[in-house]
């Protein structure tokens, strides 16, 4: 997993609440064998018309938001099914951070697992950031995980909260597996004990 320390980039405004996982990546794209390559299907129902042509009015089809690395939305982002394809699609598109007033639980967890930072900020702050984001390429937003602040284009710093363990993992690029592998000696010990007491488990 790529570490997340500080990200300065273009933020795309998506002024919607209850953006569910079906909107993020519709079910018809789930029969894939890859977790990469889903970026082109991100928000497919908003981005493309029935013939598959881009809808020019959707934010991610506009410059400079095609290169957005931050997404700003409203309440309950990521609700719906537990499909991990949602963070996979965001990440593959290039989004590393979602800022919203709150997130659905499973999506919130899945984001951290996949190297995406979800930042919870009050609705009125999100509205101000939404305004910043609308200024497009002239207004880069910085998300500094080390200092736990979002920096607005005007220099104003907005502090945010994040779980200490999750922060540690993101800063160091430790996915759950990387994290668990730090306990490899304990796993080795457990296995050695098993090998002695229950040899039939090792065929």
């Amino acid at each position: 997993m790529t570490p997340f320390t500080t990200l300065t980039g273009i933020a795309a405004p998506l002024p919607k609440a209850n953006v569910d996982t079906d909107q993020i990546i519709p079910a018809r794209f789930l029969k894939t064998i890859r977790r990469t390559g889903l970026g082109k299907s991100l928000f497919a129902n908003f981005r493309y018309d029935e013939a598959g042509a881009e809808k020019p009015d959707f934010v991610l089809n506009q410059e400079p938001y095609r290169k957005a690395e931050i997404l700003i939305a409203f309440e309950n982002f990521g609700c719906g099914s537990s499909r991990e394809h949602a963070p996979w699609a965001l990440l593959d598109f290039g989004i590393r951070c979602v800022i919203a007033p709150d997130f659905a639980d499973i999506f919130h967890n899945n984001s951290f697992k996949n190297g995406i930072l979800p930042v919870k900020l009050p609705r009125e702050v999100c509205e101000r950031l939404m305004e910043d984001a609308r200024m497009g390429g002239n207004a880069r937003i910085t998300v500094d995980l080390e200092r736990q602040v979002v920096v607005r284009p005007n220099g104003e710093e907005i502090p945010f909260e994040v779980d200490a363990f999750r922060r540690h993992c993101l800063l160091n690029g430790l996915d759950d597996i990387g994290q668990t592998l730090q306990h490899a000696p304990a796993i080795d010990t457990h296995e050695a004990k098993l090998r002695a007491s229950q040899p039939w488990l090792f065929a």
Binding site: T36, D176, I177, T180, L181, I187, P199, F202
Partner: protein
């Protein structure tokens, strides 16, 4: 310290597998057996590849294809659906690249992942068993802690042989008394889900106990544990006993000789201690269980075969009324209609719920000397190549064929609409599978969950019948 407090079967297996407890209370749990199939594993292997990680214990892992394959004579000549084919081919490349043992399609041992685990002795009492599939709960019948996991967790187990878990709560469902003739494990579990609902077991691991459960053979226990996920439970389990040990003895991957005796000595310590406490308890009387039929589109919407279709107008509140109405409409039913008046188009005997040799025998006993009704398509799909061979050795295939049933190759088949075996819109099916969700067996398909004997009887009568009225030959 752990010895002082009376513990449940679940507690004991859990405690035995704790590698470490992390500061936030999460447990690093050791996994003894990992079953892998083609649908939920590709992204996990892709993740390993991207991170340059090996599979930690290929010897604790087994892969098989089951969901996407055809179960007719075309199965070896290649899968026509491109996405299904890619999933199968990807698994074959992955097991090769990562050195994971694999049972290929042409192997007699191939079958539904939850049938072959116990059959091969890969699933044993006291184990932690996982698979990227919710019906992994099946293996709990052996007295194991077995549960389904997501694709990220599949990758986590492949890489570390552990999972990060929070402990579940303990629940016990006791079925006392003796099951009446004509009733089966399937009727028990449908009755339980009807009683506690699809959220009845949420957050819990269910231990099935009581005289009627102990009297079940292993196949019956697997049927019950298989559907514990339909009651919302994290897993289902039955304490290992003499029936379990007799089943395990001689299975290809089970311990042998002195190792087996040592294993059994440990397995005997696993049943819940007297005085162990359960967070939730439910008790049912076996004598009150009758052959069950699901009528709606959720496994909790079950009725005795003697009942009539409920009337949405009689529902307690508006929400439930709307829900019932939707189910009645989708299922093409008329309120007040007798269940036994429902005519079927298809009978499906198979799936990880009911495709073991015992299920084949129960269905064949009904089919013997009778004929499938005009216009009904009846299929029997054994759970594994070995079940198929055993059934053929017993002449069951001939019984089915003579009665007009299709006798097919092993796989998930019509349990889910993912391979060529599907219902067409509006078709009504008596199915021995586990899910009656809208479209589960094919878009617009209408599924009624029943036992193998009930499905066979419905195939012959052309409509549901109370199998208790039929003498099994």
């Amino acid at each position: 310290m752990a010895e002082t407090r009376p513990r449940t079967l679940f507690d004991k297996i859990w405690d035995h597998h704790v590698v470490e407890t992390l500061p936030d209370g999460t447990t690093l749990l050791y996994i003894d057996r990992h079953l892998v199939h083609e649908v939920t594993s590709p992204q996990a292997f892709e993740g390993l590849r991207a991170a340059g990680r090996p599979v930690r214990r290929p010897d604790a892992t087994i892969a098989v294809v089951d969901h996407n394959i055809a179960t007719d004579s075309t199965r070896l000549s290649g899968i026509t659906d491109p996405e299904s084919r890619v999933q199968v081919e990807t698994l074959e490349q992955n097991v090769e690249a990562f050195g994971v043992p694999y049972i290929p399609l042409h192997d007699a041992r191939q079958g539904i992942v939850h049938v072959i685990g116990p059959e091969q002795g890969l699933s044993l009492p006291g184990m932690t068993i996982v698979c990227g599939d919710s019906h992994t709960s099946t293996h709990g019948a052996l007295g194991a802690l077995a549960f389904g996991i997501g694709t990220s967790e599949v990758e986590h187990v492949l890489a570390t042989q552990t999972l990060l878990q929070k402990p579940a709560r303990n629940m016990r469902v006791t079925v006392d008394g003796v099951l009446p003739p004509g009733c089966t494990a399937k009727d028990i579990v449908l009755a339980i889900i009807g009683h506690i609902g699809t959220a009845g077991g949420t957050g819990h691991v269910i231990e099935f106990a009581g005289e009627a459960i102990r009297a079940l053979d292993m196949a019956g226990r697997m049927t019950v544990c298989n559907m514990s996920i339909e009651a919302g439970a994290r897993a289902g389990m039955v304490a290992p006993d003499e029936t379990t040990f007799a089943y395990v003895r001689g299975k290809p991957h089970a311990p042998k000789g002195e190792a087996l005796e040592r294993a059994i000595a440990w397995w005997r310590t696993l049943p819940s201690d007297a005085g162990a406490t359960f967070d939730k308890e439910v008790v049912l009387r076996a004598e009150e269980i009758v052959p069950m039929v699901s009528w709606g589109t959720s496994p909790e919407d079950v009725l005795p075969v003697t009942a009539t279709v409920p009337d949405p107008a009689a529902a307690a509140d508006e929400t439930r009324r709307a829900q019932l109405q939707r189910m009645v409409d989708y299922m093409g039913l008329v309120p007040g209609q007798k269940i036994t008046d429902l005519r079927i188009d298809v009978a499906f005997i198979g799936s990880c719920t009911n495709s073991r040799i015992e299920d084949m025998r129960a269905a064949a006993a009904i089919a013997k000397g009778r004929k499938v009704a005009e216009g009904v398509r009846a299929m029997v799909v054994p759970g594994s190549g070995l079940v198929k061979l055993q059934a053929e050795a017993e002449g069951l295939d001939a019984v089915f064929r003579e009665a007009g049933f299709e006798w097919r190759e092993a796989g998930c088949s019509m349990c889910l609409g993912m391979n060529p075996d599907k219902l067409t819109p509006g078709q009504r099916c008596a199915s021995t599978s586990n899910r009656n969700f809208e479209g589960r067996q094919g878009p617009g398909g209408r599924t009624h969950l029943v036992s193998p004997a009930m499905a066979a009887a419905a195939a012959i009568a052309g409509h549901f019948v109370d199998v208790r009225e039929w003498s099994a030959q």
